[in-house]
Amino acid sequence: MKVGLFVTCLVDLSRPGIGFAALKLLEGAGCEVVVPGSQTCCGQPGYNSGGREVAKALARKVLAEFRDCDYVVAPSGSCSGQMKVATVHDLFKGEPDLPEFEKLAAKWHELSQFLVDVLKVDKVPGRFDGTVTYHDSCSGLRELGVKMQPRYLLQMAGAKVAEMDGAERCCGFGGTFSIKLGDISTRMCENKCESIRATGAGAIVGGDLGCLLNIEGRLRRTGDRETKVLHFAQVIAGEG
C-alpha cells in the first residue's frame, strides 16, 4: 500500500518533527510511504484570501504529485479540508478535472482518521503518562468530522484526556486572520488558553500546526513556559 505523505507547508518550515512522527506512524503500521519532494502548499492561504486561481494551480500541482499513491495522508485537518472539500465542492465544480479531484479527495485522509478509520490501528509506538487536553481544529472537526479519532489514539498511548470547556471553539488562528485582525485573534486565543489552563493538563494537543503555533505563542507570551503544546502525532509516535 503506497501512501503519499503531504507534509504541509507549516510542518515543513516550522516543526519537521511532526512530519517525522507521521512518517514513523505510517511506516510502523506497514505502509510504504513516499514523500514527493516538490510539494509546497495545498493552496488554502490563497483560496481564503480571494486568490482562486492560485488555489486551483496549487491543487493541480498536488494532484500531479500524488496521482500514483493509493492514499494520501496529511497531519492537518485544515489542508485535508482544502483537498477533500474545497476542490470538489467549489474550485473544480463543473469543470473537466472534477473526476480527478474526486478521486484524490476519496483517497486523501487526515492522519488520525487514516490511522483509526482506515488502518484500524490498535496500538501506537508512543507512551505518554500524564493528562492532556485536546483542541478540536475547526476544519478537521466541521468539514471532516475529526473528533474521536485523535482522542482514541492518545488514550492508546496511555494519555488521560481532560476535556476543556469549549474544545470545539475556534482558537482564533484562521490563517491570515491571525495577522490581519490580530487583536480579535489574540482575544479568541486568550479565551482558548483560559479553557486550557482550567483543565490543569500538562499538555495541549491538537491536529493542526497553525492552531498549535497560535496557542503556544499566547501561552508563552503570558508567561506559561511549562504547558507542552504538541501535535497528536508527536505524542502517539513517542516523540513528544
Binding site: V7, C9, V11, D12, L13, S14, P16, G17, G19, F20, L23, V35, G37, S38, Q39, T40, C41, G43, P45, G46, Y47, N48, S49, G50, G51, R52, V54, L58, C138, R142, E143, R169, C170, G172, F173, G174, G175, T176, F177, S178, I179, K180, L181, G182, D183, I184, S185, T186, R187, M188, C189, E190, N191, L213, N214, E216, G217, R218, R220, R221
Partner: protein
C-alpha cells in the same frame, strides 16, 4: 443608520477593551447558544427541517417576481395598499408621505431592522413626527440614542444596571433593580403611546403570497398593539421576505424561534391580513405595505443569492466567536456578525466595508447554526475574491499573496526560501525559540510570541535521512 463599517478594525479593538461590554456579552452568549442547542436536540429531526426550510426559501427566491405579485394581489384584495420602494430613500419618502397626508403626529413602532437600514426614524422626525419604539430593547436604545447591536436582541450589549439608569432619567421614578419591575415600568410608559399613536409601523418576518398576510414574531405582544390600535398600519419589509404559502410559514416558524433563542415558539405571533372588516373588533382603517429592494435584487442570480434565504434569527452571530468578542456595534452598520459581513458590503459597497468579509476565521460555526443552510463562510470568501480581483485590499497584503503564489508554484525556489526562512526564523527565535516581534506580522506578535522554526525544513532533513539510509 450612519455607515461606520469601514472602521471595523479600530472599533473592534475599542470594544475588546470595553470591560463592561465584555461582561455583558459573556452573559448573553450562554443563553443564546445553550438555548438553541437544547431546542435543537429536543426537536429530533432538525437537519431534515433545515433542508426543507432552505428549499422553501430557494423556491421563494426562484419565484420572487411571481410571489411578490401574488402577494400584492391578495393583500390589495383585503384592502391594503402595496408600495414598491426601490431604494432606502424611496421607502422613507413613501412612509413620510403617508404620515403627513394623514396628519400623523405620533408613530408607535414595533421592531424592524429594515427601518434601521433605511433610516426611517430620522426621516419621520425630520418631518416633525414623534416616533416611539415599543419593542423593549429598541425602546431602551431609543432612550440611549444608540443603534441596535443585535438583530433579535437589540440591547444585548447593555447590562441591567445601565438600563436602570436610563429609566431613571427617562421616567423620573426611583431606581429599580429587578428586571420584572423595570419591564412593568416600561409597559406603563408605552401603554399611553399605543393608545395615542396615529400610525403603527411594524416590520414583517415573512410575507405570505397566497393570502397577502404579513406577520411578526415578538415576545412582548407590542406588535399586536402596533398593528391593531392605531388607525393606520404601515408595514416595512424587504422583498426577499416573501414565501409562498401558509404551510411554508408553518415550517419556517418551527425553525425561527428555536434558532434565535431556543424557544419552541415566541409568545406572540402577529398575523395581519388587510384592514378592519365589518364585524372585526379591531384593526386599522388604512394598511400600507412598503416592500423594499435597496440592493436585494442585486443579489438575485448572483453567486451570493443564498444570502437572501436569511430569516433573521441571529444564530450566526450568536455562534460567531468574532461577534461574541466584539459585539454588534463594531460592525458599523445595521447587520452584525456573519450575515452582516455579507449584507453590509453588498448594501453599502464593498469598498466601505473591506474588513467585514475578512472578519472571520472560517471556523464554520455559523454555517452549522444557520437554520436555512446559508454557506456563510463560502459567501464571505466570494466577497474576498471580489476584493482580490478589484484590488481592494491593502498593497502590502496583495504583494504578500502575490509573492507567496509565485513561490508556492515553483518548488525549487520555494524550497530555497523555506530553507533560508527556517534558518533565519530559528536565529530570530534565539535560545527560547520564540520570536517576540517581527515587522510585517505585528498583528500576531502584539499579543503573542511566534514559536520559531527549528533551523532545518522537513524536506531537507528527509532528504538527508534518505541518503544516510541509502
Amino acid at each position: 443608520m450612519q455607515i461606520q463599517s469601514m472602521f471595523f478594525k479600530q472599533r473592534a479593538t475599542e470594544k475588546l477593551g470595553d470591560a463592561l461590554l465584555q461582561g455583558n456579552m459573556k452573559k448573553a452568549k450562554g443563553k443564546f447558544v445553550d438555548g438553541r442547542a437544547r431546542a435543537v436536540a429536543e426537536f429530533g429531526v432538525w437537519e431534515e427541517l433545515r433542508t426543507h426550510a432552505a428549499m422553501i426559501r430557494d423556491r421563494a427566491l426562484a419565484n420572487l417576481d411571481a410571489y411578490l405579485v401574488e402577494f400584492e394581489r391578495n393583500a390589495t384584495r383585503r384592502g391594503a395598499v402595496v408600495h414598491w420602494a426601490e431604494s432606502a430613500e424611496d421607502a422613507c419618502r413613501i412612509i413620510v408621505d403617508i404620515a403627513t397626508r394623514n396628519g400623523v403626529k405620533k408613530v408607535a413602532k414595533s421592531k424592524s431592522m429594515v427601518s434601521e437600514e433605511v433610516n426611517l426614524n430620522e426621516r419621520l422626525e425630520e418631518a416633525g413626527i414623534q416616533v416611539v419604539e415599543t419593542d423593549l430593547g429598541e425602546y431602551i436604545l431609543q432612550l440611549a440614542k444608540e443603534p441596535p447591536s443585535h438583530i433579535v436582541a437589540p440591547a444585548v450589549h447593555k447590562s441591567k444596571e445601565q438600563v436602570a439608569e436610563l429609566f431613571v432619567q427617562a421616567h423620573g421614578k426611583p431606581r429599580l433593580t429587578e428586571i420584572p419591575a423595570m419591564t412593568r415600568e416600561a409597559r406603563e410608559a408605552l401603554r399611553d403611546h399605543f393608545l395615542t399613536a396615529d400610525m403603527g409601523i411594524s416590520g414583517s418576518n415573512f410575507v405570505i403570497a397566497e393570502t397577502g398576510t404579513t406577520l411578526t414574531v415578538t415576545n412582548e405582544g407590542n406588535a399586536d398593539m402596533v398593528t391593531t390600535l392605531p388607525r393606520i398600519h404601515c408595514v416595512i419589509t424587504g422583498i426577499e421576505k416573501v414565501i409562498g404559502t401558509f404551510e411554508d410559514f408553518a415550517s419556517l416558524i418551527r425553525l425561527l424561534p428555536r434558532s434565535a433563542i431556543g424557544q419552541t415558539i415566541t409568545n406572540y405571533l402577529t398575523l395581519t391580513t388587510g384592514l378592519k372588516m365589518p364585524g372585526d373588533a379591531d384593526g386599522p382603517e388604512q394598511m400600507h405595505i412598503v416592500l423594499v429592494d435597496a440592493g436585494r435584487t442585486k443579489l438575485v442570480g448572483s453567486d451570493l443569492q443564498e444570502m437572501l434565504r436569511c430569516i433573521r434569527c441571529g444564530a450566526c452571530m450568536n455562534h460567531c466567536p468574532v461577534y461574541q468578542n466584539v459585539g454588534g456595534h463594531a460592525y458599523g452598520w445595521v447587520y452584525p456578525g456573519p450575515m452582516g459581513s455579507i449584507l453590509t458590503p453588498v448594501y453599502v459597497g464593498l469598498e466601505n466595508a473591506g474588513d467585514l468579509p475578512n472578519a472571520a476565521t472560517f471556523c464554520g460555526e455559523c454555517a452549522v447554526a444557520c437554520p436555512v443552510k446559508i454557506p456563510l463562510p463560502d459567501l464571505m470568501r466570494k466577497l474576498r475574491e471580489q476584493q482580490f480581483d478589484r484590488k481592494l485590499r491593502p498593497w502590502a497584503e496583495r504583494m504578500a499573496i502575490a509573492g507567496w503564489s509565485f513561490m508556492a508554484t515553483r518548488p525549487a525556489l520555494y524550497a530555497l526560501f523555506a530553507k533560508v526562512g527556517a534558518r533565519v526564523g530559528s536565529w530570530l527565535g534565539g535560545r527560547e525559540g520564540l520570536i517576540h516581534s517581527l515587522p510585517g506580522i505585528d498583528g500576531w506578535t502584539k499579543g503573542r510570541d511566534m514559536p520559531a522554526p527549528q533551523g532545518r525544513t522537513f524536506r531537507e532533513l528527509y532528504k538527508q535521512k534518505s541518503r544516510e539510509h541509502g
